[in-house]
Symmetry: D2
Subunit: 337 residues, 4 copies
């Protein structure tokens, strides 16, 4: 249940209102928007007489029951779009923010070279995997801590904020200088890890699991936001279906539904979705057209030699060309790139 408050209520009165519900055993979420402030109750709200609750409070405008299990990420509770700000970079409605970089950091020279190039092409954030979740224990597992160090070097060199995947909560210290912590698709329901990144003071990029529903993705975001971190970026990256010609099946409908159901930004990863280089540019354009707030695109200075995911990586020239095409279309969609 969510209570929409009257405009300009004193902070003290809100606190009193909240504490009165907490004393009755409910948890609460306070959501302060530009239009209105809302208080959402978590718990067994079925027994509450909503009309009575509204009438007996002098600060409540009206109440609404929320049928969805997700509350803090629910647009009904929090109508305004969440825009995540990092220096002069914005992620959210009205923007189209492109994250790019290699699947895996391979050397300082490599990551710096790629960083400079994708920055010039218009990417706003640098990606680079250091700890790699691989199906086989015998496959390259990433450069690990050393890889993060190389990524920081590229950050310093170019000024680009960096995103990298964290695989478990014992790595949190290592990720101190990472600007956005990525939760990979296989960890979308690693709930203990979600709780931990919920305590961070930095954005979290949460990828949809290979076989997870839109509802489950929202519930995983709820884990993070309800733990105290409201800077969550959702990422559609393809789901597992019977079709084997692509690595996964990109679900662009999910982008539209997510934007309707939550105030959080939603981006698309066409590289992992398809697994095929020639599909990345058309899917990237489609993601922009469908209403996504940005992209995560894998690039490599020499895809044929990449230590992982070379087949789906654009080379730096292909990426530059794609960015030029996206800029034209972003203008049509009235999105800042």
């Amino acid at each position: 249940m969510v209570f929409i408050l009257k405009p300009n209520v004193e902070k003290k009165k809100i606190e009193k209102f909240i504490s009165s519900w907490e004393q009755k055993g409910f948890s609460t979420i306070l959501s302060v928007g530009t239009e209105h402030t809302a208080v959402c109750l978590i718990g067994n709200t079925a027994a509450i007489d909503m009309d009575h609750a509204v009438q007996t409070s002098d600060i409540v405008l009206y109440g609404k029951r929320i049928t969805e299990q997700y509350k803090a990420v629910n647009r009904t509770v929090h109508e305004d779009d969440t825009i995540i700000r990092m220096g002069d970079i914005s992620i959210g409605e009205g923007f189209f923010t492109v994250i790019s970089g290699p699947c895996s950091v391979e050397s300082e020279e490599q990551i710096v070279k790629i960083a400079k190039s994708v920055k010039q092409s218009g990417a706003k954030i640098l990606r680079g995997g250091a700890f790699k979740p691989r199906t086989s224990p015998y496959a390259f597992q990433g450069k690990q801590a050393e890889g993060l160090r190389m990524l920081y070097a590229a950050k310093q060199e170019t000024g680009l904020p960096v995103v990298s995947e964290i695989m478990n909560q014992t790595q949190l210290d290592l990720f101190e200088d990472v600007d956005i912590a990525q939760i990979g698709a296989r960890n979308m329901q690693n709930f203990d890890l979600l709780k931990e990144v919920g305590k961070l003071k930095k954005p979290v990029l949460l990828k949809r699991g290979l076989a997870n529903t839109i509802d489950e993705l929202l519930m995983s975001a709820e884990y993070i936001v309800s733990a105290g971190n409201d800077q969550v970026i959702l990422c559609e990256r393809g789901i597992r279906t019977f079709e084997t010609m692509t690595r996964n099946t990109l679900d662009l409908s999910a982008v539209v539904l997510l934007k309707q159901k939550t105030h959080l930004p939603v981006i698309v990863d066409p590289s992992h979705a398809s697994g095929i280089r020639s599909l990345v540019p058309p899917l990237a354009k489609a993601a922009l057209a469908v209403g996504a707030d940005g992209l995560m695109v894998e690039t490599h200075n020499d895809p044929a030699q990449a230590l992982c995911d070379g087949a789906q990586s654009l080379d730096l020239e292909q990426f530059r060309h794609l960015m030029d095409e996206l800029k034209i279309r972003a203008t049509v969609e009235k999105k800042e790139m």
Copy 2:
């Protein structure tokens, strides 16, 4: 195996070449393109010594082995895009052709009204279901032959060519005045029906089955083309996955792959793919951006009262608005609408 012929070979020589292979037990497909003419062999070609075959013929430029099971629809055999012409309407690369109309023809008044409106908005072809495949025997099964008559009235009134779904081969006579025969998703592997529409002299709109792979869609198209009808339009309309929030999961990657693998036109049906009205416009724009050659969009004069699929139908004003948005984007994509 396909033999690419030298330019300007006499027709007689080609016929002789073909008949020499047919005498050896192979079937052949002759593909005449703007750039070159090709002869494709069907059968156990593994035993053929290709180099020898090329060297001993004076009309063959070179030979290529085809690993895919589809031959006649294969871009390797037929490099030029197939553009289907119907009067001044074109369907294929370089065009973005929108088909629109109701799920089901309900009355002459209804279909004429919708036809006039969607024509004015820019639709080039009118759809209208007369025979409806319904999960339940107790659900509305369409207006049947009477529905087709109403559809013809709308065709006469507006000049729009019409497309309607044929459900079995005993209906062929009834479909004489239908301009495009539609094979529904559930009939994509109704091979006997495919063979029958392969004998028609009119375009066939072939929808991808709910659980059919891209390869299987191409093989079903091969049934039609190898039976003599090369006017086949493929239609991606969503596949069945574990996600239940949408009716199906639209697979836009399939559009890109189909355009790479075949010369046939590929359109998208965002209405059946999503089953949700508010998803239709963004998915339609994404389909244009990803490279589709057109759309099939359900419209209704009064969706709330529609006899079927009202929840996914745009009203006439929403359709007009969508078309305006598409026209702007078609210019960017250099497609004629």
Copy 3:
């Protein structure tokens, strides 16, 4: 809505009761069981005051609302198990009836040889494909009418009833001597064909579609039964999932659910489900253990030379061995084999 009638009501009174509802615009299904007789109404029954209807009739014991869309196949309407009798063969609860034979009839000699052998091993019904639905137009399409003739020869030779797949309604005459008409997985929602076999006076074997839900399978059976043919055998044969190591994923849970929800017999096809010979015997035993009423198992005198589906066919000795193992287990499950 279903009305359970009092015991021993005169036929005349039932007819009057039925016609009174039909005059109000409802269709009816009359279900005569050993325990009780029921009348089911089809149509918009929401507006009926059930209690009033029961009280004002002197032949009704009680009424029940049916939430499922399927009525005639619903166990709520028809509690007794349907047992299909063909001479001294029974298919349904309490029996475990094995159908066997080749994917495709190849020659009279072949089918007679297989028929004799599987009969001796304990198979009660002979299968043999004459019209084969194949993904590729260039693949072997079956021996067609000639194949049916060979199948009839084997029937005459061995006395085994025969089952073969009908692909479209123009073939009905050819199937006159086929004892069970099979509707293949790809035709499960070929609704026009379902209506036609609903007029037959012989059993129909209805296979579950590759991507069809249990509910949809029941609705397709409803098409047949509501058209007048209540001799329908359901067949689980694997569904399409992301797993590629098997041809399909056998869904044995579906067998249990189907047996709960409908009175119709349910059998299992472990050959098409797995596509792998070595999986057929263990899956066959699992099907028996889970409660299936029988099997459809592909056998071939020389699987390595089979014109189709050799990789999943048992040879005649393997089949004999499997039958011996099944007989021991059928005793434990108290099923007659």
Copy 4:
């Protein structure tokens, strides 16, 4: 590549052989079976001349190339079935070991009561969740450390070994007295956790992920075994498909394939697979019939009041009855229960 050694080779010679390959940059797996001893090389073995390697060694009987990416869990490398022994309990080929207990430990009284009852019915191992992975952050998360303490009390009271799910590597100390560490379906590809339990000296129960292939399950087991722990029990528990009538779709074909491809024990969890109580007994019998080495079945003293998964839990009497039915069938299958 795997080298099968001659019988009765001195340990010293084997060590020398191994170290010669490790000096060339390969990792090795030594597999000592009753029939023969094998040395498996990990790395880029394509360049090795196998015949030469065999001929130049005096301890090698023959060599085989392994196409699968999994080596240590591969039956080609290790032909003998792995039988896991815990006191007088055995898990593996020839046995049918049933694990039972509640989804979640709720109180000491509850878990002791259930433990005593399932022991008497024939269960050999007690399950009880303490840390529960839940889709919603607001759902019951388990009794956590306190739950483990209660589970240990039940272990002491009954002598049953216990299994419980570990959710992340920071919990390892808490799990010291747990006899089998369970990796849940959502953590099947939490590779860091797999590496950690690979260092344990106790069995690990590895559940198949909701959308993971058989190959991926084997690769995850390879993570554990290659890290040093060869006591891995695989568990099929249903996969995610389009069918919504069951919680998941139980894939019994996977059991057969796993038993063919690996030497590790394979058990089945019919409770999570179906999510429906009435399906658990028939699926349990089917699992036994198909060749599984055991079961994991959820039981509860009062399912209607269970804090989680009550709908799929058997009550203690239902479980006793199921066990009686299984014992009869285990005799037929020649499995010790």
